[in-house]
């Protein structure tokens, strides 16, 4: 199973087309190619963190600075970032546009990802975070643009879940 080169390119271009100039990320398999694009692009600042909760702070700083910022993380990183999401972003009304690689869900062969995959949607609902699943390259640009727009208008976290259909090459 390999990560989709084409779709990674489509997603990165969609992020750029949404006017985003700043990304925070913790690298992981599905996001790897996307982050390579970001590293090579002088129009985008990429900030890699040691743990995903840091990125909530970085995103808040970018928002205060008036920068258009998107967060890239795996769903287990989202789970690790929850206190920052609740007690910084939601408490103070700070927008977060989170693109989350949904590991451990439909079709997951690796047991270690499965618990996180199974609980991700329920945790998003419990936190009142609006979310959508990104499944096809045709729709993902619109989804990223709209996730960003909603995060800014609602001053709250918004999640777009990047699924296996989108992120892996078909068998």
């Amino acid at each position: 199973m390999s990560v989709s080169y084409e779709n990674s390119k489509v997603i990165f271009q969609a992020i750029k087309d949404a006017g985003v100039t700043s990304l925070s990320a913790l690298p992981e398999t599905w996001l790897g190619l996307l982050l390579q694009h970001a590293e090579r692009d002088p129009g985008v600042r990429l900030i890699q963190v040691a743990k995903e909760e840091e990125a909530i702070g970085v995103a808040a700083g970018a928002y205060f600075a008036g920068e258009r910022h998107v967060l890239l993380m795996q769903n287990h990183g989202f789970l690790a970032a929850i206190n920052g999401i609740v007690s910084l972003a939601q408490l103070y009304g700070i927008p977060l546009c989170m693109l989350i690689a949904l590991r451990g869900h439909w079709g997951e062969p690796y047991p270690w990802h499965t618990r996180g995959g199974i609980v991700t949607e329920g945790v998003l609902r419990a936190l009142n975070i609006p979310f959508e699943y990104a499944r096809t390259p045709d729709a993902v640009a619109r989804q990223i643009r709209e996730a960003y727009t909603l995060s800014q208008s609602s001053l709250s976290p918004v999640a777009l879940l990047l699924t296996r259909d989108l992120m892996e090459e078909p068998l």
């Binding site: 040691a50 909760e53 840091e54 702070g57 970085v58 700083g61 928002y63 600075a65 910084l88 408490l91």
Partner: protein, 195 residues
């Protein structure tokens, strides 16, 4: 030395800088000297003040950013030292008040209380070049002057007594603080961009 003495010494220098504090005593002591629109008090999310400072500093290269942090908060987000070292924002001054105590949440000893854990050494080990460890008001003042003058990431670890204010309270709602802080930055940016 008391943290409040250090903050009082910094206060006159903070008028034109973006300032982020941690929760509790540190926030209160700065607020009690007189709130300014360029102060953001992170009243929860322990550990993230320095991450906010990093996001501010990288995206506002022409502003000086000051983070007033504490040992308990830094211990909750030690990775931040390595992330700061990696991106090395030249315009960030990271002050860590180390009172060896989780003072604002009940006064329990933190891991630095015994003196075994050395946050300055950890910052150096993370790769931060300019780290000052101070335990007197005079040394703190000198380290702060150096840090503000230096065009490079600077960390000051200040050993302070585990004492705080008698009263906690602000006439400032949390989102209001965020909105006004952002507006102060936007005002600075737009004023500067005018010919």
């Amino acid at each position: 030395m008391k943290r409040s003495e250090c903050i009082a010494m910094l206060y006159p220098e903070l008028g034109d800088k973006a300032v982020v504090t941690i929760m509790g005593a540190c926030a209160q002591e700065l607020y009690d000297l007189g709130h300014r629109e360029n102060f953001f008090y992170l009243q929860h999310a322990m550990g993230l003040a320095s991450s906010i400072g990093l996001g501010l500093a990288l995206h506002l290269p022409r502003e000086k950013v000051v983070v007033l942090d504490g040992d308990g908060s830094v211990l909750m987000n030690l990775g931040t030292l390595a992330t700061l070292a990696r991106y090395r924002p030249a315009n960030l001054v990271h002050v860590i008040f180390d009172n060896g105590s989780l003072l604002s949440t009940g006064g329990y000893d933190s891991h630095t209380a015994s003196g075994m854990t050395d946050l300055a050494a950890m910052a150096r080990g993370a790769g931060i070049e300019h780290v000052a460890a101070v335990d007197s008001v005079v040394a703190f003042g000198e380290a702060a002057i150096d840090a503000f003058a230096r065009n490079d990431l600077s960390v000051i670890v200040a050993r302070v007594a585990a004492v705080g204010p008698n009263y906690y309270g602000m006439d400032l709602h949390l989102p209001e603080n965020a909105f006004r802080f952002r507006r102060w930055i936007a005002g600075r940016t737009s004023t500067r961009e005018k010919p």
